[in-house]
């Protein structure tokens, strides 16, 4: 593995290697001395074109626990008011000797471009690109499911997962659909038709407009953040109507099977897609998702940077 750009790039063995490695990383993180010398002398750059404090901190902590040097490069701006171009930024990082670039970008495909345009030689990790993918989020979600479902045996074959919300704009949903399919889970996407991409019937998952019909049949439900601004583009009439039709409140939560967990990639819109009662309930594993994110990102960084660069690339 040279880069991590899409959850779809991971075959089953590669995905399981990351998840198993993450489990070992998690065990080591329980010790008093959490730091490992593994990536001493390696430089990891967090290149964030979009604000995402939680993802950036998670990668930063992961890199630091492996003793890498971490540089946070906040290249703020927007596609309208561009600052320095991605290419020039990349060339700068290359000159600084970055071994890996963790990139968050508003533009779908920017990490792929960074990895393939001959601008840099190091590894590229996609930390969320536009409305495309967020593979480490999908990995940490799968990791969390492995810990909670099937008595922690780690087998996700046949596990049923509902993903509810703004699928159209969700990189989390795209990466999860790809990874969960690879791991043998069955995914049902739930959203109003306006928030589902054209051609979704060809995705490797089921689709429903009716959350109440889906909830009784899932082992995990993942609620996606829905931005209230979407209603200005006529995706739904009002926040209230969205919440009533697709939000997860206490009453709906009781439709879930006893063992089912509630997930959310954060940040949550309490009162919109998820009620406070659900967010604070025992089924909710959001806090754990955050902790697992560090372990998964440690695993990814170790597997990308912990060995010799692959030859012939």
């Amino acid at each position: 593995m040279r880069h991590l750009l899409s959850a779809g790039d991971l075959d089953r063995d590669a995905a399981l290697l990351i998840l198993d490695t993450a489990a070992e990383m998690a065990a080591l993180s329980d010790r008093s001395v959490k730091k490992l010398p593994t990536l001493r002398g390696r430089t990891v750059v967090n290149l964030f074109f979009e604000d995402s404090t939680r993802t950036r901190i998670s990668f930063e902590l992961a890199a630091k626990r492996l003793s890498a040097d971490v540089i946070n490069f906040a290249a703020k701006g927007s596609s309208v008011s561009k600052g320095e171009s991605l290419k020039d930024t990349a060339l700068t990082l290359e000159a600084m000797g970055a071994d890996a670039v963790v990139i968050r970008h508003w533009d779908s495909g920017a990490p792929y471009r960074l990895a393939h345009a001959d601008w840099i030689g190091g590894s590229v990790v996609n930390a969320g690109d536009g409305t495309h993918e967020h593979p480490t989020q999908a990995l940490l979600d799968a990791y969390t499911m492995r810990r909670h479902l099937r008595d922690g045996t780690g087998a996700l074959e046949g596990v049923r997962v509902g993903i509810v919300g703004d699928i159209l704009h969700s990189r989390v949903a795209r990466s999860n659909v790809l990874l969960l399919q690879t791991l043998g889970a069955e995914v049902t996407l739930v959203a109003p038709p306006t928030l589902l991409p054209i051609g979704i019937e060809q995705w490797p998952c089921d689709v429903s407009y009716d959350i109440d019909a889906v909830l009784p049949n899932v082992d995990a439900v993942m609620m996606l953040r829905v931005q209230a601004e979407r209603m200005q583009d006529a995706y739904f009439p009002t926040a209230r109507e969205y919440s009533r039709l697709y939000g997860l409140d206490g009453e709906r939560m009781r439709l879930l099977p006893e063992h089912a967990i509630v997930m959310h990639p954060g940040p949550m819109n309490r009162g919109m897609e998820i009620s406070a009662e659900v967010a604070d309930s025992a089924r909710a594993v959001m806090v754990e998702q955050v902790a697992n994110g560090v372990s998964v990102r440690m695993a990814v960084l170790y597997l990308l940077l912990g060995g010799a660069k692959e030859l012939g690339e």
Binding site: M1, L17, D20, T21, E24, M25, A27, L28, R31, S32, V33, K35, L36, P37, T38, L66, Y302, L303, L304, G306, G307, A308, E310
Partner: protein
């Protein structure tokens, strides 16, 4: 093992030899530690863990008390990470009582350059502060590159640098034996 070309496999320890060696090591450990009360055995994956369990069993038979046995994966502490593709991690399992103030016996199958043990000492350092650290190995084949010396040795087997030592154990390989193959230069 696949790296070995044209082999002349030569058995240097049989299953019985290995059984005798582990039992002797168990006796020596108890004798030197004046009992087994403060001992913790940590095997270095993969075969070191099996050996540690065997030695632990032998000690408990000798002393009549359970000796805590664990595993210490040293992958993340290796100094040759950049020379090979990334390796999958093995489990690290520190016994519930921890290692602080105890005598830790590191157990490995073959002692060669000493670099693995160097990494294990680093790893141990991040786990806690033992009163003492000892080293038990089934085979010492020489060629040390670091000032490391085993406290308990199953068998000293002088080898040439080109030879390879193959340790097979029931737990991982289906049978107990130690063999040497002389890989001739191609």
């Amino acid at each position: 093992m696949a790296a070995a070309r044209a082999h002349d496999l030569r058995t240097v320890l049989t299953g019985d030899d290995i059984a005798r060696a582990t039992r002797r090591i168990a006796h020596e450990i108890v004798e030197k530690a004046k009992g087994a009360s403060d001992l913790v055995l940590l095997g270095i994956p993969t075969r070191g863990v099996s050996l540690a369990q065997r030695i632990g069993l032998a000690i408990s038979e000798i002393e009549g008390i359970e000796v805590p046995v664990g595993a210490l994966d040293i992958t993340l502490y290796r100094d040759d990470l950049r020379l090979q593709p990334p390796r999958a991690l093995e489990s690290t399992l520190i016994p519930a009582g921890g290692i602080d103030g105890r005598t830790v016996v590191l157990v490995d199958d073959v002692l060669f350059s000493g670099r693995t043990i160097r990494a294990a000492l680093d790893a141990l350092n991040d786990v806690g502060r033992p009163a003492a650290v000892r080293l038990a190995v089934l085979v010492d084949r020489g060629h040390r590159e670091l000032p490391i010396r085993p406290d308990y040795v199953g068998k000293n087997i002088p080898t040439s640098g080109l030879e390879q030592v193959h340790v097979r154990l029931v737990e991982t390989d289906g049978a107990d034996s130690v063999e040497i193959s002389s890989a001739r230069e191609a």
